[in-house]
Amino acid sequence: MAWKLDDSRPIWPQLKEQLTMAIVSGQYPMGSPFPTVRDLAADAGVNRNTMQRALSELENDGLVITNRTAGRTVTTDKELIMKMKMETASTYIDEFVAQMNAIGFSTEEIIQVLKEKEAK
C-alpha cells in the first residue's frame, strides 16, 4: 500500500483513515483476510504499537473482524461499508464545496459547472 503520512499529526489516526479508505475502495475485499499488524507495520515503516492502535479502532468500527483462530478478516457487512463510503464521500464533498465557495461559486453554480463538465 502507498502510505502518506504527515509527521505533524499523530500517526495512528492517519493509518486508520488510509486503511478505512483501502477497505471502502475494495482494495481489501469484503470477507478477505486482513494482513497482520506486523506486516502492515513493516509496510508502513511505523512501529507495531502504532499500527495495533489503528487496527483496534478499525475493529471498534466493525470494519475488521478478529476471529479466534483465523486472524483478521474484512467485514462482510455491506451496509457498514456503504455507510463508511458515504461518510468519506461527505468529507470530500464538504471540502470541495468549501473551496468552491471560497472562490465565489454558489451551490447552484457548482452544480451547473459540474453538469457542463460532464457534458463535454
Binding site: D7, S8, P10, I11, R38, A42, G45, N47, R48
Partner: protein, 250 residues
C-alpha cells in the same frame, strides 16, 4: 515473570574529571516500546547508554535494568550497538558471529546469516575490506540478532546512506523482541520519528522532556523534528555591522 518497568534510573549522575556529563537523571521505561533518546551533540546521550549497559559506573545514583544493577545478568539481557566500530580488521564476518555466539546465549546465528545474505554480505568477507557503512550494518545485524530485552542503539543510522537507513529502521522494527524495548540515540530525528513511541530530550546532561510521541503531536501539532529544533535552537554567530552587534532573535 517480567517486571513492568524494564529500566529505571534514580538520581543518576556522572562526572568526567569535574565535568558533569549527566545530572540527576530519573527515568522510568516500560516494555515493548521504541524510544528515541534525542539531544544535541555532547548532551549526554552516549554517557547515559554506557551507564545503562555497565561500561562505565555512575558517580552517584542508581540504574536498575529489570530490577537489577548493571552486572552479568543485565549484560545477558541488554544488546548494545556502540557508536564506534569495534571489530579487529583481520576478522571475517563469520569470526565475529562465532565470537557473539560464545559471548551471548541469546545470539541467533541463523538470523544473523539471513540478514547478511539479504545485504549481500558473505560470512567469509573480511572486515578490513568493508566500507564504513557496511561495517555499521554488520554491527547492527549482530545487535539485532540477539533475543534481548533491552536494545541500546547509539547512533545506528548516522554513517549510512538514506536507502540503508530505511533498511536499518525496518530491521529494527521487525526484529526486536516484543517484550523488549529499543532505545535509539540519534540527532537524525525526521528519519526515525515515525517508528518512535516515546521520546526523551536530553540537554546538558539533564532530561528536559520524556513524553509519548502521540501526545506531543496531538498537543502541539508539530513533528518531533520541529519540536526538537525549537527546544534546542541556538543563536548563530553573525558578523558585526556598523551599528554594532546584529542580534539574531528568532
Amino acid at each position: 515473570m517480567f517486571t513492568e518497568t524494564l529500566l529505571k534510573t534514580n538520581n543518576l549522575t556522572k562526572y568526567y574529571s569535574g565535568f558533569r556529563a549527566l545530572d540527576n537523571v530519573n527515568l522510568e521505561i516500560g516494555r515493548g516500546k521504541i524510544i528515541g533518546l534525542l539531544g544535541p551533540n555532547g548532551s549526554g546521550k552516549t554517557t547515559l547508554i554506557k551507564l545503562i549497559n555497565g561500561l562505565i559506573t555512575p558517580s552517584s545514583g542508581e540504574i536498575l535494568v529489570d530490577g537489577n544493577n548493571p552486572g552479568p545478568y543485565t549484560k545477558s539481557i541488554v544488546s548494545y550497538l556502540p557508536d564506534k566500530n569495534y571489530f579487529a580488521n583481520w576478522m571475517k564476518v563469520q569470526d565475529v558471529f562465532n565470537m557473539f555466539a560464545d559471548f551471548y546465549g541469546d545470539f541467533d546465528m541463523n538470523k544473523a546469516r539471513d540478514m547478511c545474505a539479504m545485504l549481500n554480505i558473505r560470512p567469509e568477507d573480511r572486515i578490513k575490506s568493508m566500507s564504513k557503512g557496511t561495517k555499521e550494518k554488520v554491527q547492527l545485524i549482530l545487535c539485532m540478532s540477539r533475543n534481548a530485552q533491552l536494545y541500546l542503539l547509539d547512533e545506528p543510522i548516522a554513517g549510512v546512506d538514506p536507502a540503508a537507513r530505511d533498511y536499518i529502521l525496518s530491521t529494527i522494527i521487525n526484529n526486536y523482541n516484543e517484550e523488549g524495548t529499543v532505545i535509539i540515540s540519534t540527532h537524525l530525528i525526521s528519519e526515525i520519528e515515525r517508528v518512535l513511541d516515546e521520546v526523551i530530550f536530553i540537554q546538558n546532561g539533564q532530561v528536559i522532556r520524556h513524553d509519548s510521541v502521540d501526545d506531543i503531536k496531538e498537543n502541539e501539532g508539530k513533528s518531533i523534528d520541529e519540536v526538537f529544533r525549537e527546544s534546542f535552537r541556538m543563536v548563530p554567530y553573525m558578523n558585526v555591522n556598523q551599528e554594532g552587534v546584529y542580534r539574531y532573535d528568532k
